[in-house]
């Protein structure tokens, strides 16, 4: 299982980087979202998968899944959500002001 999830997050990383190298703002933002999905899956995998029950104390259960990566991912999900919403609004505002969402055209003067 770990092997498969790692491959999956590798694919997510590759597609994320490809999106980041594009010119339109929305593609770049989708790239960042893909990147955070990949990272979250990878953090979870690093704590081993499916080794026990959910980390909620229950009578009769001795084996729990590692709770620490879950806590880290939870924090990370919230933060990346905050960032995503911020850059989405930033993209919205940029497009409104400059009438374009193309990074090439947002570049400014070449001799600056």
């Amino acid at each position: 299982m770990e092997f498969l999830v790692i491959i999956l997050s590798g694919v997510l990383f590759a597609t994320a980087i490809y999106n980041l190298l594009q010119k339109q703002l929305l593609r770049i933002i989708i790239g960042t979202v893909l990147l955070s999905h990949g990272a979250h899956l990878m953090i979870l995998t690093m704590g081993k998968l499916k080794r026990g029950q959910p980390p909620v104390l229950t009578e009769g259960v001795t084996q729990y899944t590692d709770p620490l990566p879950q806590a880290l991912i939870l924090t990370s999900i919230v933060i990346s959500f905050g960032i995503t919403s911020l850059i989405l609004v930033l993209a919205y505002r940029t497009t409104q002001e400059n009438k374009t969402d193309n990074m090439e055209q947002l570049r400014g003067n070449s001799n600056e």
Binding site: M1, F13, I30, L34, L57, Y92
Partner: protein, 802 residues
Amino acid sequence: MLTVNLAIIIPFLAATLVPVLHKKISRIHIGWFVFIVSAALFAFLVRYIPRIASGETFLYTLKWIPSYHINFTTYMDGLSLIFALLITGIGALVTIYSIYYLSSNENLSHFYTYLLLFMGAMLGVVFSDNMMVLYVFWELTSISSFLLIAFWYHRKRSREGAQKSLLITVTGGIAMLVGFVMLYVMSGTMSVREVIATVSTYSEHSLFIPAMVLILLGAFTKSAQFPFHIWLPTAMEAPTPVSAYLHSATMVKAGIYLVARFTPVFGGEMTWFWMVTGVGLFTLFWGSFNAIRQTDLKALLAYSTISQLGMIMSMFGMSSAALVNGYSVDSVIFTQAAFAALFHLVNHSTFKGALFMVVGIVDHELGTRDIRRLGGLATLMPITFTIAIIGSFSMAGLPPFNGFLSKEMFFQVAVNISEFNFASDTWSTLIPVVAWVASILTFVYCMIFVFKTFLGSYQEEKLEHPAHEAPYGMLFSPMILGALVVLIFFFPNVLGDYLLRPAMSSIFPTIAENEDLGVHVIPWHGFNMPLKMTIGVILLGILLFISLRYWKGIYKMFPEKWSFNTLYGNILEQLEATSNTVTNFYMTGHLRDYMVYIYSFFILAVGGMLVITNTLVFNIEGNASISSLEGIIALVMMIAAVTILFAKSRLTAILLNSVLGYGVAIFFVLFRAPDLALTQTVVETVSTVLFLAAYYFLPEWKKEDTRKRSKSVNLIISILVGVIFTVVALAVQNGKLFDSISSYYENSYELAGGRNIVNTILGDFRAFDTMLEVVVLLIAGLGVYTFIKLKARKEDASVEDK
């Protein structure tokens, strides 16, 4: 008793007072205050002469940074006293001169602040015993000289001259600092005295020669030696009192001082002998050769200063021959060279100071200093003329002026060194020849200076003001200096016994123990080789001067574009152009390019490391099993991720993106992470809404007009990054070194009173993270609000416009 330290600090204190006094007392010229300061310092230092002459030295320490061995330690011996007397004495005279030279419309408080800064820094250079403190004052002289050269900062040439001199002298200063650090590494002490005392223990060290070369670089740049002489002629854009003080009498001698001070350290090496002597002699020749072609009097004097500094430098170089073989009766003869160098150093300061002041007077009274426009001033400006005669005849080496004595000694030294065949014979016989030829050229330009300016026909129509004698206040300082020139000729031994003799024991501490190094100077020394050489100089010099216009054509062989100035200018231009090109080449302004740099570096660094250390190990043993459901979800997500790349419309991309998000949520369910699954579902839903909102406001996707080549570069980079992440994760995943600490959190009920372990971690064990994460959300929310709400008002929009 810290009196010498105080003498260094007083000019700095006075410099802070200058602007205040200038503002408060406007009736009296502020220069008089500066004059009082420098004259008082001079008088204070004069009192030390008898005690220094009797062999005493004075050492005072003021703690500064003791933990780094950096202390404000001053050491007064014969050598530093000579320089200090020149600095304060000529400083006082120059101040009087400047009081009459500068009109009250000038920015006087700036001028005198800079001048006092310079004086204090220069005193610091000559008195400092600690190498770091010496360096500090050394750079202060560079800075104050920079400020003084650009005193008329509205002129372009002043600014250029200041910039050039700063660049060159600071480059040398940094080299010197590195040399000092090397000396410190070798000797373990910052004190120059201790460095000298322990020199024999590390003279075989591999850093010894590099340190010597670097320190010499500092000395050569400061003292305008070839090929670093180019800053001195352009520094002539400074007001004439500055040229007289800094660029003839004091600052340019800082390099000479450094060479003299470090002769006991490095003098035993042949490299030192040849570098100092060779560079000095060539500078002597080059300066005098170039002085003849100048048409501007100040430029002529600048090249003559370069030439004379070369002469002093070469004499110090020759004197180190005394140290090469250690003390013996034979080697004492070479110590005369140092005596001659010190003697000429004093003489040069007197006559060159006077000559600069003469040029200043001519410039000030007539409005020009171009030789071609001047002439016939002798009867109109008799006193100036007399001083000019005294100064330039002394510079040419004629009796009865002090230059004659030092030139005779110079010839004697050069002859001595050529007879001492410790090196190849041809080179050492060349020394007196070069010296002699350079002296002939010196004679020629001295004659040009006097005769083209003061004799010949008076051309009033070319002058801005009709010629008349300068006011006495302006003539006072050059008169004093002129009188000194003559007095030193008649009583050279007063100077020799009281000042130069104690300095000799500073330069040759080992030899001075055995021998009295004082030299008795006699104006008439018999009909010997130096006198014959002088007669030759005079005869040939007169001949060359008369036939000047017939042979001046040879200067056309050295046109302006082949000069070192052009080289310097080209180097500066090329540096700027090249760095511009390089920067423009990689700083393209395309975000994509910077991403490519970042990821290429990541691939090279991490991927390369993986290959080099051979850590490409996989092991799927111990992996959890894959159920068919999980396999299908993973497959779907991979397909979704890849399909986003080919999505034609934004809506497809957004929907595929949420497929991925929910896929991740399902995985969280499967991997027993209920809280994560919950959060991910909610966040993904909100995100999708946000994306859809953005979809509504953002323009429709256009087909990206990316070139094929960059498209494939993108593809390669993204695949490589994905592969490297996968490989690293696989390698890490199986290399567990120790157990997880998470079993501790299973006590969450006992320790935190909660059964949900993830929640207790977030809210109790590691609540600090959660708090700041909340702050992140808050800031993001505020950001979103401001991005939407805040808009520049119409009138603000014009601020950014050009």
